[in-house]
């Protein structure tokens, strides 16, 4: 290894390998190789999962390389035959394993591609020995599926050769007088910025900050616009069915919007509120069937594992059924997303949120500080959750558990909307506690819903002659296993709820959520 790292200069656009060579002829003989064109594409999931782990995935023709972003150290490589969307497209090995673990159900997408024309220059001494190499790179970058390309400033690299470090230092000295040393920004960051993007420019998280003295109307506008951006960011991926998480995030944004509309009261005029509530309810409804099939497809492997090994292969017709149903539902969903009803909903909602919002003037909560309003709402919901949970015992009807789950979800969304107004460790702890309870309630309800749905799918498949006897029997065993899990969640409920309903949590909630002059009455 040479003792010095390569040195990089920015070249004025009018310079080229040939002009550089000409300028150096007085010092050393300079030979230029014919230019070579390369294309380098950076890939990641839509929500930057690799970047979150400090990794970069590069595709250069048929070679795929996973690097540490900070050090450019190569972690693993693989040869690929074409474009890669799923880790499963890669040959078995370390890279495939790492990507599967990090990406899970998310697909790989090209983030930015860099096309480079590079020329290698050889600088030779009097013996004709190459003592230094230089590379001139002229690059353009392009966003995936975009038409135009953005030129990056050409670069001149000085590539030292072992044992000839003095020549590197000499040339560096000469060139430093006339050229600017390139910034240390990575090619990835530079290319990304050239196409007008930045890392982590999408996240489904509610990562906005509210100021306690904001009016509730201002805060609501910010929250709802953030949710609308989240929703619209996922439309294309949902339409193209790139992976299941586009639809999932679109639905979460829809659910959160609906929850915000119904939970943060007295901000919008009743007519506007009712209109948009109904229209977002419709959006939730039309996206449900596709999401159900997404969940079933994702769960297929788990379903197999719930069966004795000898029965697992009999679930294949069920998997095929899910795939076909998903295809049908996706077609319907695509039509809905292209419909005037959908486009007008999105357009009108954005127009409303970005208008001067005269509409909210005069509403009771609109001009009140957001902190006070959020405390009232969260405190009320918190007490409702405690009341409903305490009323449930093992023999309570399932509907009561379902109602509690709905209240918990509303409370969770409220805490997430207003998280930035409260001490992060305390509200963070409360959200975590609530999530644990919601997981139990989710296990109780989801397993039951899946079992019921599978029973009806079984009947449908049998009617259509698509379920051999062995498949029906396997599905029966699967339904029993799911109901067993539901029963386990039912048994666990009391322990999970008691954990949530404990003094420690009450102390935190009273300290941060209880309104100063509460007239809500009873104690938590």
């Amino acid at each position: 290894m040479p003792r010095h790292a390569p040195v990089c200069f920015l070249l004025p656009p009018e310079d080229s390998a040939e002009t550089i060579c000409e300028r150096l002829q007085d010092h050393l003989e300079c030979i230029v190789d014919a230019p070579v064109a390369t294309q380098l594409c950076f890939l990641d999931s839509f929500d930057w999962r690799l970047h979150q782990k400090g990794l970069l995935l590069l595709q250069n023709g048929k070679s795929l390389e996973l690097q540490k972003k900070k050090t450019a150290q190569i972690r693993s490589t693989a040869r690929v035959s074409a474009s890669v969307k799923w880790p499963g497209d890669l040959p078995k090995g370390e890279l495939r394993g790492s990507l599967s673990e990090i990406l899970q159900m998310r697909a790989l997408l090209p983030v930015v591609c860099v096309h480079t024309k590079s020329s290698l220059l050889h600088l030779r001494n009097g013996d004709g020995k190459t003592v230094l190499r230089m590379r001139v790179e002229q690059s353009e970058c392009q966003a995936p599926a975009a038409q135009g390309a953005y030129a990056l400033l050409p670069r001149l690299w000085l590539l030292p050769l072992k044992g000839y470090e003095n020549e590197l230092l000499k040339l560096k000295r000469i060139l430093s007088g006339e050229l600017e040393q390139a910034p240390t920004t990575s090619l990835f960051d530079e290319a990304l910025s050239a196409i007008g993007r930045h890392a982590f420019d999408y996240s489904s998280k509610l990562d906005f900050t509210l100021a306690p003295d904001m009016t509730t109307a201002q805060a609501m506008r910010l929250i709802l616009l953030h949710l609308l951006d989240n929703l619209t960011n996922n439309i294309e991926g949902t339409r193209a069915d790139i992976d299941t998480e586009f639809l999932h995030d679109l639905r979460v944004a829809t659910r959160r919007t609906r929850s915000a509309l119904s939970q943060i009261k007295k901000i919008l005029p009743a007519a506007v509120l009712e209109d948009f509530k109904a229209r977002f309810a419709w959006l939730g409804q039309i996206t449900s069937p596709t999401r159900d099939m997404d969940v079933f497809k994702l769960e297929c492997e788990n379903f197999r594992e719930l069966l004795p090994p000898v029965m697992r292969e009999h679930l294949t017709p069920l998997h095929d059924f899910f795939v076909q149903q998903h295809r049908n539902q996706q077609r319907v969903l695509k039509r809905h997303l292209a419909s005037p009803r959908f486009t007008s909903l999105i357009g009108e909602w954005r127009a409303f949120l970005t208008s001067d919002c005269d509409l909210v003037e005069g509403m009771e909560n609109a001009d009140r500080p957001v902190l006070a309003v959020s405390q009232e709402r969260i405190w009320k919901l918190y007490r409702r959750v405690l009341r409903e949970g305490r009323a449930i015992d093992y023999d309570s009807p399932p509907e009561e558990m379902h109602e509690l789950r709905k209240s918990c979800k509303k409370l969770r969304y409220l805490m997430e909307f207003f998280r930035s107004l409260y001490p992060d460790n305390q509200i963070g702890e409360m959200i975590k506690e609530l999530k644990a309870l919601l997981n139990n309630l989710g296990d109780y309800q989801d397993h039951e819903v899946q079992a019921v749905k599978l029973m009806s799918i079984g009947e449908q498949m049998k009617k259509e002659g698509r379920a051999p006897t062995k498949t029906v029997m396997a599905m029966g065993v699967l339904v029993a296993a799911l109901l067993e899990r539901q029963e386990q969640a039912h048994k666990d409920f009391s322990r999970c709820f008691s954990r949530f309903d404990r003094d420690h949590n009450h102390r935190i909630s009273r300290a941060i959520f209880k309104p100063a002059k509460s007239n809500m009455g009873s104690k938590a």
Partner: protein, 245 residues
């Protein structure tokens, strides 16, 4: 890290041409390769256009200067050279001054084991303390042999020396500078080889293309890749690489 000594007691048998061309092909195949030019004449250094001069070469032999400091990159990716130095003519005397004089090269190489996959020694002719160091540092000795009676005799001398001194190295021989029109060359190439070593089936023909190396100052595969000689060196490397494992 594998170590290969290119050696023959006799001079003018094509040792340096072998070291340069085999080193070039090894690097081309992806092995990080170092050629150590141990011959004070510095022919391998000359072929790579590298000056046969090492600052403070004595310190280097005594381990007081890092070997890595003296290494130079060649013009070929993955191929480095430790150049010769005229002071190597006195290397025997220098080696004699240190403890365990026969194991000095082996000791000096140790720090490079992470940087290189293959080290090739281009040795000076004659049996000396330097060559004995190479025998003990090299996993494999490759002996270019001209198919003549005298050359076979020196090969036999070498094998006798290795047996007598119980040196742990494999010996491969191959015929070099073969002129198949000569009846002696033809008959020796066709007869059975010395059973104490492995005779490779690849042969390097006597050809003007090899002599051109001195003018071109490049490995044969760079300036005459389609020549019979280049093909013969590629065949020799493939056979050797397979045998070295």
């Amino acid at each position: 890290m594998k170590t290969l000594g290119i050696y023959n007691i006799k001079g003018g048998v094509g040792k340096t041409a072998t070291a340069v061309n085999i080193g070039h092909l090894a690097a081309h195949s992806g092995l990080r390769t170092l050629i150590w030019d141990l011959d004070p004449q510095g022919a391998a250094s000359f072929y790579f256009r590298i000056k046969p001069r090492i600052k403070k070469s004595r310190l280097l032999l005594f381990g007081k200067r890092d070997l890595d400091d003296a290494i130079k990159a060649t013009d070929y990716p993955g191929l480095d050279l430790l150049p010769a130095d005229f002071s190597y003519r006195n290397m025997d005397l220098l080696l004699n001054r240190v403890r365990k004089p026969k194991l000095q090269l082996k000791r000096l190489l140790r720090p490079l084991s992470r940087d290189y996959d293959l080290v090739i020694f281009d040795c000076p002719p004659s049996i000396s303390l330097v060559s004995e160091n190479v025998f003990r540092a090299a996993d494999t000795l490759l002996v270019p042999t001209i198919p003549t009676t005298l050359s076979l005799r020196t090969l036999s001398q070498l094998l006798g020396f290795i047996d007598e001194n119980k040196i742990d190295t494999r010996v491969f021989s191959f015929y070099s500078m073969v002129d198949i029109r000569k009846s002696m060359h033809k008959s020796i190439c066709e007869s059975a080889a010395d059973p104490r070593c492995t005779a490779l089936s690849s042969m390097i023909p006597y050809n003007v293309v090899v002599e051109l190396m001195g003018m071109e100052r490049r490995p044969v595969n760079e300036y005459a890749p389609r020549s019979m000689v280049a093909k013969a060196y590629r065949q020799l490397w493939d056979e050797l690489a397979a045998k070295m494992g």
